[in-house]
């Protein structure tokens, strides 16, 4: 592999999901062959992404441009920098596990239209990688929208009325915010700054010093971006995420805990760092309004999560709250908060995907969706709930979960910027996280089951283990271990991400 240039690696990375798409469609009739193709390609993709990461983290910034074939004056171009690389690494790595998990889940649950499912999945991964590598806002926007549309058939997979309503909210909110705010913000940026390229240090600083845009307008522009990137699920444009939970669980796991939502917050970070520039936001306080919105989003979503009995709905609101952390990191705009936000992309991804995997495994194994029905279930599904507990620790931000570090840096950033009250928000939020997540595994292990006498698995005082399909349980154990491993690798990620905040100075 050493003789392959990083530029070629970019092309291979984005090409592989498309190859997977073609193969899945061709081999659609033969399920085993189709799944073998997906697994092989996703593994190869992860390998190639790692190769590329080697180059990027050692300082290379490979580029690949298609020129302005798509739009006169606007380039489709890719340039890999550490933040995008980290996101691509997370997305491609978790795609492998999700594919394995999806096979177990979809078969265990006898889902229909599996070929369409795997095909749309491949397009979504392609869009995620292309967005991660994009070198300008135009490319990012195009990929962002490709992702919205390609995930719609996944959300409405079941094709019933519930799916229709969920899909309606999903597409409605994501498309309207992106068209009404995001696209407008991009065009505004272009008319003011004259370029859409992601540039270290930002492109708006010059326009600001020339008086083409004032501080209030900058704040409005920042709001347009923060709300326009609807995938970041900032309140009040968060309704699509719970609505998307009608999808099969592997979709909720990879797309609505990792790929889709992370494209959102990744875009917010990218805009803050490479379009505005940390210094500009800090000097003009352009992010202050969003600080309040994000803080409110963190707390409100946690409070709503506590009221949800459906496990996936509770996880969805938890995701909204956690995504707001990252938006908050971008809005605070200090070095530590940006790094914390970047790290949280990885930490939260691994933790939350574990939780969703668990939710799916519980559904397939025990046919339970409501938390109140899960009392005592931990005894029959110890691996699933064990993994759930570990991931919970990471999400809350307790050592030895990876989430501890990212929250630490976010808190550090909040103090650095002189907004100490945000510390309070983060603390309260952690308490709320404990309140709505920890009881689930605790009750599953400790509480007696509802009708203990009728329980078939309660044999002679012992408990018969009755887990979900093996293909479901193994991936969720791996990701649970991963969320602990990340705690010890946090320094490495920190070192990788350092260049994104330094290049601005």
């Amino acid at each position: 592999m050493s003789n392959v240039t990083p530029e070629t690696l970019i092309q291979i990375c984005m090409g592989l999901p498309l190859v997977a798409l073609v193969l899945v469609v061709i081999t659609g009739k033969i399920a085993n062959l189709r799944e073998a193709c997906t697994i092989t390609i996703s593994s190869v993709l992860f390998f190639v992404t790692c190769q590329l990461a080697g180059h990027v983290f050692s300082g290379a910034r490979p580029e690949w441009s298609l020129g302005d074939v798509m739009m006169p004056g606007f380039e489709i171009a890719f340039q890999v920098e550490p933040l995008g690389m980290l996101f691509a690494l997370v997305a491609s790595g978790l795609w492998v596990l999700t594919t394995i998990y999806a096979i177990g889940y979809m078969r265990g649950h006898h889902e229909i239209n599996q070929t369409r499912f795997f095909a749309c999945f491949a397009i979504a991964i392609f869009a995620a990688l292309a967005a991660a590598f994009s070198a300008n806002l135009f490319t990012l926007f195009v990929m962002y929208e490709v992702m919205t549309v390609s995930t719609y058939p996944l959300v409405t997979h079941h094709g019933d009325e519930k799916a229709r309503n969920g899909g309606r909210v999903y597409l409605g909110i994501l498309l309207s915010t992106s068209v009404a705010f995001f696209m407008l913000a991009i065009a505004w940026t272009w008319s003011v700054a004259g370029t859409l390229d992601f540039t270290p240090g930002g492109v708006l600083a010059e326009a600001f010093s020339e008086g083409k845009i004032n501080a209030v307008q900058l704040a409005i522009l920042f709001c347009l971006f923060a709300f326009g990137i609807g995938k970041a699920a900032l309140m009040p444009f968060h309704r699509w995420l719970p609505a998307a939970m009608v999808a099969p669980t592997p979709v909720s796991a990879l797309l609505h805990a990792v790929a889709v939502v992370k494209v959102g917050v990744f875009s917010v970070l990218k805009v803050a760092i490479y379009i505005f520039g940390i210094d500009l936001i800090a000097d003009t306080h352009a992010g202050d309004w969003i600080c309040y919105v994000a803080a409110a989003s963190i707390l409100l979503a946690s409070l709503v999560a506590m009221t949800k009995d459906n496990l996936k709905a509770r996880l969805a609101y938890s995701t909204i709250s956690q995504l707001a952390y990252i938006t908050l990191g971008a809005a605070i705009a200090t070095e530590a908060s940006m790094l914390g936000g970047g790290m949280h992309i990885a930490m939260h991804a691994v933790g939350k995907i574990t939780l969703f995997f668990c939710a799916g495994a519980i559904y397939v194994g025990a046919h339970k969706t409501n938390i109140s029905d899960m009392r005592g279930l931990g005894r029959t599904m110890p691996f699933t709930f064990g993994a759930f507990l570990i991931a919970t620790i990471s999400i809350i931000g307790l050592p030895p979960g990876g989430g501890a570090w990212s929250k630490y840096f976010l808190a550090l950033g909040a103090v650095d910027s002189g907004k100490a009250w945000l510390m309070g928000t983060l603390m309260v939020s952690s308490l709320l996280n404990i309140a709505y997540l920890v009881p689930i595994p605790i009750l599953a292990f400790m509480a007696p089951t509802k009708n203990e006498t009728d329980d078939e698995s309660h044999v002679d005082g012992g408990w018969k283990i009755k887990e979900g399909p093996l293909l479901c349980v193994v991936p969720l154990c791996i990701t649970a271990i991963g969320s602990v491993v990340l705690f010890f690798f946090a320094n490495q990620i920190y070192q990788w991400l350092i260049p994104i905040v330094q290049s601005g100075h």
């Binding site: 006169p72 929208e145 490709v146 409605g172």
Partner: protein, 513 residues
């Protein structure tokens, strides 16, 4: 031989369908007429592609009809703008005719088929002629050829409402054409010439340089401009009727709804765009943008009418249960986007307007072709009867979804290209309100497209949908060719936005035909 072909190339795409049209009537056999008209359409398409490449190579081409030199004779002036449009019209004409077979047999009595083919070719002749000619009176003649044949085509519709719709269009269309004729007459009286380029030159005589008072440049004005103003007003209003600009759109929904599906496909994809083209010619080629946009507030008038039209027509579309009518209202809204771009009168705005003529032609053509497939199999254009057809007609339904995404303007479809260009043009002109309203209005398209998608995929199947089978192969394949084109021109735009950019540059340099 090749030289001979090259020499007469500008006139061939018009003459060929014009000659074959009467042949179809004379021979009277529907099979022969079918073969002949298919041949004519595809040859015309090939020739117009050749013409585009010649224009790219040589620049403007001028052809004197019968060897009579302008301004006395009729001149055909082919430039980047009209060659581009001619290729689009001929392309859509050829593909829709290839598609037409099964749908035509279903909707039009066999005894009238040879008339259909003849009228179709005449309609195409008229539209191509309006693009190619450099003579203003000739524009009127071709406009009437295309309009009269369209009235007849619409009246071929299955229901008894079709002749009424045709009659409604006839009245409105004739008023529009008469206005055009009055405008042409006034200009002729003023300048003594009918050649568009020459009229432009002659009008230059009346132009008085801008007066500078206290260092502020006043607006330019024209001596004896009363006649010019009246002529301009008649031409603008006349063409606005043919373009179906809100509030002069009333003829359009009924005509599109009650015409045979095939006719709607072709007319919706091409007719209004050619009128938009004629309007561009009148504003940029004869009168100047200075006259229209600085002396007269045409830009403000256009964008306010366009925006109101976009909102009103889009909202009206949402409430239509008849899908043809729904798309017809959408067409009225989309004309608004074209005019919005043109009213900006700068490079980006014009490019956006022109490229949207092309892109929307493709998208609307594709969607009406999908409707044709559904009408053939379900026998209905009511949304209720389309319920659940996604299960029995998966390919047709998918084509609707993809074409619909184009109409909404999602990236990777050509609708996005138009929308983006229009947005950046508005931002560049600092028309922030227009930009914001335009984006919000495009969300209305999400509603009127997606309602149908939901009906197709998520509703329990209707009785008709249960019994339906997939559309005939020839209709599916041709539909997918157009659908694929909407995607291709959404990713690779050298031949759409690139050519439109050339055309806009040409117009802004004072390009007269």
């Amino acid at each position: 031989m090749i030289e001979y072909l090259h020499f007469h190339l500008p006139v061939l795409p018009i003459v060929i369908p014009l000659m074959i049209a009467p042949l179809c009537v004379l021979l009277g056999s529907r099979h022969v007429a079918n073969v002949l008209s298919l041949f004519a359409c595809w040859v015309t398409f090939g020739l117009s592609l050749l013409l585009v490449s010649r224009v790219c190579e040589l620049g403007e081409i001028s052809y004197f009809l019968g060897g009579w030199k302008p301004p006395y004779g009729i001149e055909y002036a082919i430039d980047p703008l009209n060659s581009f449009l001619m290729a689009m019209i001929a392309g859509m004409g050829a593909i829709v005719l290839t598609y037409s077979g099964p749908s035509l047999r279903d909707e039009v009595p066999k005894s009238k088929h040879y008339l259909f083919y003849s009228l179709y070719l005449l309609c195409m002749t008229g539209l191509m002629g309006m693009c190619a000619t450099g003579d203003l009176f000739n524009v009127f003649v071709f406009l009437e050829i295309s309009s009269l044949s369209t009235y007849a085509l619409i009246s071929l519709g299955k229901t008894r409402r079709a002749p009424l719709a045709a009659f409604q269009y006839l009245i409105m269309g004739t008023i529009g054409a008469t206005f055009l004729l009055i405008g042409i007459g006034l200009l002729y009286q003023m300048t003594g010439t009918l050649n568009m380029a020459d009229i432009g030159v002659q009008l230059e005589r009346y132009r008085v340089a801008a007066v500078i008072v206290d260092g502020i440049e006043g607006p330019p004005h024209w001596e004896g401009s009363r006649t010019m103003l009246v002529a301009f007003a008649f031409l603008t209003v006349g063409l606005c009727i043919k373009m179906a600009v809100f509030p002069l759109h009333t003829w359009l929904p009924n005509s599109y709804t009650y015409a045979p599906s095939v006719v709607t496909c072709f007319v919706a994809a091409t007719a209004t765009k050619v009128s938009v083209y004629a309007f561009i010619r009148v504003v940029f080629g004869i009168f100047t943008p200075e006259f229209a946009f600085e002396l007269l507030p045409l830009d403000t008038a256009l964008w306010s009418f366009s925006l109101v039209g976009i909102f009103v027509a889009s909202i009206a579309a949402i409430y239509q249960t008849n899908i043809k009518r729904r798309l017809a209202y959408s067409s009225i809204a989309q004309v608004g986007y074209m005019l919005l771009g043109i009213s900006m009168a700068n490079q980006d705005g014009l490019t956006a307007g022109i490229v949207h003529m092309f892109n929307h032609g493709l998208i609307k053509g594709a969607l009406f072709m999908v409707v044709g497939c559904f009408v053939l199999r379900l026998g209905s254009v009511q949304m209720d009867d389309w319920r659940g057809a996604g299960k029995t007609m998966p390919w047709t339904s998918l084509a609707w979804a993809i074409g619909g995404l184009g109409l909404i303007g999602v990236p990777v479809t050509c609708g996005f290209i138009s929308k983006w260009l229009l947005l950046t043009a508005a931002m560049e002109d600092e028309l922030y309100l227009v930009a914001a309203l335009m984006l919000i209005s495009s969300l209305l398209a999400v509603i009127y497209v997606w309602q149908v998608v939901e009906v197709l995929y998520f509703s329990p199947p209707s009785e008709k949908a249960k019994k339906a089978t997939e559309a005939p192969l020839i209709m599916l394949v041709t539909t997918y060719v157009v659908v694929a084109a909407t995607l291709v021109f959404g990713v690779w735009t050298t031949w759409s936005a690139g050519l439109a950019g050339d055309a806009a540059r040409f117009l802004l340099q004072g390009g007269a035909p």
